[in-house]
Structures are given as structure tokens and as C-alpha cells.
């Protein structure tokens, strides 16, 4: 069955090119041109994914996220512009799953859509995440790089495990700190930088130009499971 995607954007041109490209990629597209219509459509059309522009004429996109989240756990990708990192973080905190920065290429959008629609790593299942030459076995708690087992400290493993459970998803600093270090440390980004750096030294081919554990400036990190 074709996944159904609800596109909420007030610009007809943007809706048009998204409709064309998404349909070409085998998705069914439903459109809404403002927040009210969008919230209504999210309730009645039961979409599998929402693509939501934050700048809407009638209501702030953030409100739409909250409204939708009251009813369902449907994944949401927001469209935002650069230099609005705070908005992105807020949207993610309100329950959005990922974001794409405008202007964007279709390839980037499709990658996000695929990642978000992919079922989450099995909770406690026998999932193995592969990325580049690195293989993360969540069940056995073993990490190998090019077949060689890596030795991680306890914190390093906890961090990597958290990333591996949401591959290709952006994870905010707060989210990561809360999950790995606990709610009291949500502002201690320095810890996070240090450990991400250590992980990169162990996982990346060129730690100076990471390709697996990439930075989302001002927002957080993303573990790239596939390119």
C-alpha cells in the first residue's frame, strides 16, 4: 500500500513540486494550504507522514505540531530556513521527527522521508545497524569496524546505542543528554562534544570530516545509517 503523505504549505509552487516528486517516488500526496486545513486533514485523512512548513498564514507551525501530537504519533518533517535553529529545536521538542532546511534538493527530502517512514529499531529486538564499515549489534552490545571489534567505554556505548536506535534521525542535544546523562544534565553540551569526538576517533575514517556521526549545527547530531 502506498504511504500517504500530507503536505501542509501555503506556497502552491512548493506544493506542486513536492507533489510531483513524491508521487514519482511512489507516495500518495494529500495537500493542505493552511494550518486549519492541515490539522483537519491530519485527523480525517489518516496520513502516514506530515510535511509541515513552519511559516503558515493562519497559525504558527509549532501549534500545528502540538495539535497533531494530541491525537496521533504520525511522523512529522518540518520545513524551515537556515538561521532558525531555535525554531527547529522547539519543533523537535514539540514532537516533530526531523527537518529539512529550505531551499532543499529533492534527494535530501526523499532521504528524510524514507528514514522517518522506516520502522524504528526494534525495542529490545535483535537489531544490527550497519553504517559504512561499522556494524553495531544492539543485542550483543558489540561494535565492529571493518570486522575488528572496538572497545568503547560504558558512556561511549550508551551514547552510540542511543544513536543507533534512531538511525538517520536528527537527535537534539537536549534529547541525547537527557537520555544518556540524565535529566539534570540537559545543558552540559560540553560532555556531549567530548564523547562525540571520542566516538568519532574510534568510528570514523577521517575524524576531521565525519561521515557517520554528523553534526547538525545548532541542533544536534545524526547517525547516518546509509547514504
Amino acid at each position: 500500500m502506498m504511504p500517504r503523505i500530507l503536505v501542509i504549505d501555503d506556497e502552491p509552487q512548493i506544493r506542486k513540486f513536492m507533489r510531483i516528486s513524491l508521487t514519482a517516488n511512489g507516495y500518495e500526496v494529500v495537500e493542505a494550504e493552511n494550518a486549519t486545513q492541515g490539522i483537519e486533514a491530519a485527523r480525517t485523512q489518516s496520513p502516514d507522514l506530515l510535511i509541515l512548513d513552519l511559516g503558515l498564514p493562519d497559525l504558527d507551525g509549532q501549534e500545528v505540531i502540538s495539535a497533531v501530537r494530541e491525537q496521533s504519533e504520525v511522523p512529522i518533517i518540518i520545513l524551515s530556513v537556515r538561521a532558525q535553529e531555535l525554531d527547529k529545536v522547539e519543533a523537535l521538542d514539540r514532537g516533530a521527527n526531523d527537518y529539512v532546511v529550505k531551499p532543499f534538493g529533492v534527494a535530501e527530502l526523499m532521504a528524510r522521508v524514507r528514514a522517518v517512514l522506516r520502522p524504528h529499531a526494534a525495542k529490545g529486538g535483535d537489531e544490527v545497524v550497519k553504517t559504512g564499515g561499522v556494524q553495531i549489534d544492539l543485542t550483543r552490545r558489540v561494535v565492529t569496524r571493518d570486522g575488528v571489534e572496538l572497545h568503547l567505554s560504558k558512556k561511549e556505548w550508551e551514547l552510540l546505542e542511543f544513536f543507533a536506535r534512531s538511525p538517520d534521525h536528527v537527535l537534539t542535544h537536549k534529547e541525547i543528554l537527557k537520555a544518556v546523562w540524565g535529566p539534570a544534565h540537559t545543558d552540559d553540551t560540553a560532555y556531549l562534544r567530548v564523547y562525540v569526538n571520542q566516538l568519532r576517533q574510534k568510528l570514523e575514517d577521517d575524524p576531521a570530516q565525519p561521515t557517520l556521526l554528523v553534526t547538525e549545527p545548532g541542533v544536534g547530531y545524526r547517525l547516518k545509517a546509509r547514504d
Binding site: 531551499p103 553540551t189 560540553a190 562534544r193 549545527p217
Partner: protein, 898 residues
Amino acid sequence: MNDDRDDRPSPEALLAEAQREGRGRLKIFLGAAPGVGKTYAMLEAAHERVREGVDVVAGVVETHGRKETEALLKGVDILAPQMVEYRGKSFREMDLDALIKRRPRIALVDELAHTNIPGSRHVKRWQDVEELLTTGIDVYSTLNIQHLESINDIVEQISGVKVRETLPDSVLSTADEIELIDLSPQDLIKRLEEGKVYVPEQARRAVHSFFSPGNLTALREMALRHAAERVDRQMVDYMRAHAIPGPWPARERVLVCIDEKVDADRLVRFAKRSAERRGAAWVAVTIETSHAHALTEAEKDRIDAAMRLAIQLGGESATLQGDEVVDTVLGYARERNCTQVVVGRARKARWFGRMGKSVTESLIEKAGEFTVVVVGGEDEDRPKSVMTRHKPQTGWRLWLGYLAALVATAAATGIGFLIDARLPIGNISVTYLLAVMIVAIKFGLRAGIMASIWSFLAFNFFFTEPRRTFAITDVQNILTVAYFLIAAFIVSNMAARLRTQIQATRESARRTTNLYEFGRKITAAATLDDVLWAVVHHVATTIHGRSLVLMPGERGLAIAAGYPPEDEIDDKSAGAADWAWTHGKLAGRGSTTLPTADWLFLPLKTGRGPVGVMGVQMTEDADMPSPAQLRLLETLADQAAVAVERTTLVADIETARVATERERLRAALLSSLSHDLRTPLVSIMGAATTLGTYDEKLEAEGRQDLIQTIQDEAERLNRFVQNLLDMTKLGSGALKPRVDWVDLNDVVSSAVKRTERLARRHGIRIEIAPDMPLLCLDAVLMEQVFFNLLDNACKYAPPGTPVKVWAIKTPKHVAIEVSDLGPGIPPEDREKVFDMFYRVNLGDSQTAGTGLGLAICRGIIEAHGGSIHAEPGLHGAGTCIIIHLPLPPDLADIKGYE
């Protein structure tokens, strides 16, 4: 001033005409004495206007209870008087502000010479009228001829009554219209006897001597003559203003010489009358010789007062410099076409004073074509002027002087005994003379004379035969003591004069030093605040009081500086300050306008207009500044005004410079927008239309190329817009770094990733020292910095050459270099490339820049407390941008947290 026979309207006449424009007209109902019916005539005229439909308001009308006058008041709007409290009593005065607010076409203001109750805005009612006229209100007023300043002394001579309420002649002469209210003396006396003339209580006794037929005839004549002269003058003025060719007499001028010795007021009044009679202009001159500094304050004040009086009476005034008094005066007289020279009577040659002729005598001798009028003075005025020359000493200092005279005489006597046996008697008298001289120099004339007498007595008693008696037998000795006494007097007189001169010189030196000090202070002050502070501080210390400067702000005058600091002044003072500001004249305590205010205000004026107002308040014994202090204050105010203007000029220039800069930026922005926005659009549109039109005909490769072009150009456009947005935020101060712990590697690699497409043609090498700590930065902004730098490097450096990012930690900061092997930046442009819209001109080959990238980098780096500059690369090749960032706070406590 030789244009009297010119056919063109004389500039003076035209100027006077122009000054009248927008000004109300003054009509004066002139009478010879009280009771002739001036008020009645004024009211009748007012009624005529009212009938014509003109808006007439009675500001103040004194009916003195006369029924027919009161009846005439009906039908005219009467302004309610304001009550002014003075010494516990309430007085009715004209409400000037209400009248100005009411703005009638014509205001009736009775008794022009009236003196206002202290506490009113102006001392005199004619000043109120002046203000009404400047606001464009016409005024009808009344005046008795006896109140006119210039004939004040004559009236006193004739009638024996001293008139205290006087009016400057200039007020009458600038009146637009004068109506003479004439009544024969007989009729007037009859009216007086019928009780129809109001006589104030205190004048009742004098009334009959004043209203004698002789007096009244004289006064009437004066009033008639004034009115007639005026008619003449108006005629001439009209002809001049309208360039009607003669015949009018070449304008005569009367010159009156003022010095510190003469009864100057009398001279000035005389000159004014003389000039008036001849229909001539007149000028009062004073000569400043090189001895001028030796004048006492009282003498300077007298000269100043005479010059002021001259101006008040409608004359000119001039101060001439020169030591040859006679030649200077005659030269000036010739230059100004003067025909008559008025001087005071020659002083009696002073006791052993100036030898030879007096100034007056030699003036008469050299006068040639001029008529010289010598005016006599009253003798009782004389000693006053001599006395003021040597200020008598008072109190303990005088007694100290007498004591010193005694001691000096005793000492001289002692020395006398020592040399008595060996030397002739003449030597002893010289010793005494020496003592007298020392005392006179040190303690002044009185002590000197005292010493002379003591010495004379001691000399006589101890050293002339027969000794121990005051008797003298030897004729030779009689001569010796007589000569001694004379010599002693002369010596003490001369020594005392020397002392006075030294004091005067010192005083003048102090004044000069004061001014010099002030000049130095305010020249050194760079900002307006510094200047104002220097001004108030200096003025306050100079007058031993308080000082303020007020400058115009958004809501009128406001205190700009004060010493001691002051935040507020009371309403009355504020009113005086406002008046001083709008009229450019002194106001407040010690002046004639609002004298009951706590402060005295001096306008700060320069050639370009007023810049503010300076307020002073004496705290020590004196209630108001002495005339000498006032002169100094006026000089200081002038200097201060120039200094204030200088700083505002500097500020103006700065504003102009900023405006020019802004204009340049605007122009640059426009050209940048039109070029940088349009170029990518041209490519995108071209590629898209090609694809749309020739899709079928295109090779797969060509199609791909065009699609790539659209994508690349769209990205370029996006970068440009992003730069503009960043720049706008930087410019508006909205861009505040949100710092957080950041791994420099992370930031650089994000930037590298964003430049991927451009960087493909270059190898980007990143070398970040392994010991680089986490930094406290705004990751997003810093990424933008690196993106811009890498973008630039890739754009300008030839394909295939490496671009390098290199970072180390030094003890002082974090140093980051981004270098390329491109053409480099010429040395003179290395600073300018960080300016907005500045582009190094490299011909047509490279035009992709926006001229904003580096400006944004500098803005962001500086917001982080760092610095950025450009240098040539290694071995002088290419460009190396060097960034210094502050070291982060210590992170030791982070390590090992697990």
C-alpha cells in the same frame, strides 16, 4: 556712510524697514504733563478701531477714577490684571502672557514709562510693550514728555522734580506713530483746580510747584519740539527709503568723547540733544590707551555705563585704540563725517600732575574744521572721581599701615643716630625718605602720609638744632625740613600710585590668566560634555558661586551641565532662561528682565546664532556679579559659545561623514543587488527556457549541464540572500552569538560539507592541533564564517590548488588560518576587503563574490571577542585569513566525567 546723495534707497533705511516687517506697530499718545487727556484720546482712537471691526483689547488702562474715561472703556475688551505679590502686598500688573496668548490686533497699554512691581518679567512696562510688538501685536500707549530719558535732567532743572520713571529715547524714536495731545497751560491748570487731574498721594505737595505756568509751558514746548522733529525725521526717512533725490542736508554727526574723568552721563545727554536738534546722528567714543589697565573698576564701570546710556538714547558707541588721544579722536571724526565734537571741560591741572596742555586744550587747537563744544560739569562730581582712583583702605590693614609708619620711622631714627656723628644731616633725611617710600609702597597713600609726618617730626626733634625740641633755629635746617616734608609727600603719593598700578596690573594679569586658562581648558575638551563641564566648573570657581549651562532639547531648554551639579531650576529662573535664549539678552537676577529670579542668565551666542544659555548664581556676599565680573562673564560666555559650537560642528561633520558613508553603502547595495541577484536569475531563466523549448533536440549531456546550471545558480542565489540576511542582522545588532561548547573540528567539517560542490576542484586540508580544546562559540555563526572563507578561497584560487584550514592553540588565544594559493590581496586592500560591498577588482574573470562575505566574517568574529585580518600566504603566495579567538574557560572538570 557717504551714500547720502545716492539715488538708491539707503541700505540703513531699507534695513530699518525690513526689521519692521512682522512686527507690531507702536502708537504713542504723547503729552506734556499729566491730565492733558492722553488716556482719553487713546480710548477714543480705540473705539474708532473697534467700530471698524478691529480686535482691540485693553491690556492696562489707568482711568484714575475719571468718569468720562471709564465710560469710554465700555465696548473694549478688558484683560484681567494679574496680581503680583510683593512684600506681603498684592499689586495689579498687566498680564503680559495672557495678552500675548489672547493675540488681539491692537493692545492698549497705558503709561509707557511705568515701572513694574518687582517679580514681574520685565523691570519696565516699555519692555513688555517691546515684547508685544515682537509678537506682531500693535500697541497704543501713552507717555508724558517728562519721562523721556534724554531730557530727564532738564526737567529736573526746570521743575525741581526728579522724575524717576524714565523711558529710553529709542523707544519713542522707534515708535511708528506719535500723536501729540496738546492742551494749553491755562486749561490744564483749570482742570487741575477742578480736580480733574489725578495726582498720586505722595506727589500732592509738589503738585503746585510742578503745575506752574512756566513749567507747563517749558514741558509743552519740549513735547511739541519732539513731535515736530519726529515729523521731520519721518519725512526724511520716507524720502530715503524711497530713494527720492534730495535736497536733504548731508547727514551730520555729533561725536562725544567719554573718559573716566568727565561727568559722562551729562556729556552723553548733551550730545544727544545737540544731535537731535540738528537732526544729526551721534556717536559716543572712548579711547583705550595703553594706560587703560590702570583704571579702577569704578572708572571702567562709569565709562561702560556712559556707553550703555548712549546706546539707550539711540546713539552709536565706539571704542578706539591709540595713545595719541587727540589724533585718534579727530581721525575717527573725519572718517565718520562728524561735524561737532563734544568734550568735557578740561580738568584743572593736577597738583604736580601732568605738565603742559590738557587734552581738551590740544583738541581745540588741532580741531580745524570741527566745531568743538566743551561742556561744563558740576564740581561736586569731581572729588568722587579722584577718590575712587585710590581705593581707601579700611579696617585692620589701615591700622597695620599706621603701625608700619611708626615702626619705619623708629627704624630710620635708629639708623639716623648711627650715622649722625659721621655724616652731614642731609643723609639722615634721605634715610627717612627711604622709610616713607617703603611704607607707601607696602601700605598705600594714607600710611605713607602718616610716615611722612612721623618722619618729619622725628627728624625735626632728634636731628635739627636745637635737638630734643621741635623748634628750629638754623635757617638752613628750616629749609631742610621743609624740603623734606614736601619730598616725603611727593614720594608717598608716587609710591602709592605705583602700588595702585601694580594692583591694577595684577588684576588685569589675573583676568588674562583666567581667560587663558579657560581657553586652554575648553580647547582641550573634545566632546560637548567635556566642554560644558569645563565651562560650568571654570565659571563657578571664577565667581565663587554656582553655574549652569542650558541647551535646547526636545522639550525646550534643559540643563546640560551644572557646577555644583544641578537637576532643576525653579519656574521663574526657567522663564528667565527662556527669555535670555529667545531674545539673546541678559535675563534674571541683576538684569532688567525678571530680576527676581534666583539665577542670572547670559546667552551663549556665536555668529551662527544662539547655542545655549549660561546661568550663574553668586553664593558669597554679593547678590549679583559686579560689573567687572559681568564683563568677564560675558567674555567667558562668548568663548564658551564658540567652544560649544566647535564641538557641535565636529558632531555635524561626523554626522555628514556617516551620512556619506551610508549613502555609499546604499549605492553599493543597490548595484550589488542588481548584479548579484540578476546574474543567477539570468542563468536560471536561460537554462530553464532552453530546456522547455529545445528539450527534444538536446543531447542527454547538454540537458544535464543545463539542469546543473539551474541548481548551481539557485544555490548561489541562496548564498547571496543568506549573506544579505546575516549582514542585516549584524547591522541591526540582532545577531548575538548563542555560545555553547563546540568542537572546532565539527564546525569546520560542517562548513566543508556545505562547500562540497565548489570544493570539488580543490583539495581542502584540515589541520587542527590535537590539543585543541572545546571552544565556546556559536556553532551556526562560526560555520558561516568558515563557509564564507572556504567559499572565497575556492572561488578565487585556481582549480587544483589546495585550500588549507589550520588551527592551533597558543597560550593567549586560538589561532585559525584559512589559506589558499590564489592571486592574493594587494596590501592596500587587505583591510578594506572586510568592508561591506568592497571587492578587489580582478577584472571580469571572477565576479561571483557579493562583497559581503568577509564583512560578515568580521562581524561574527568580533561578536565573539576575536579578530580577523588578511595576510599574504606562505612565501608571499595567495591569501591567508587569520582569525584569533579567545581561549575558552577551563574545561578541566569535564575530562574524566563518566
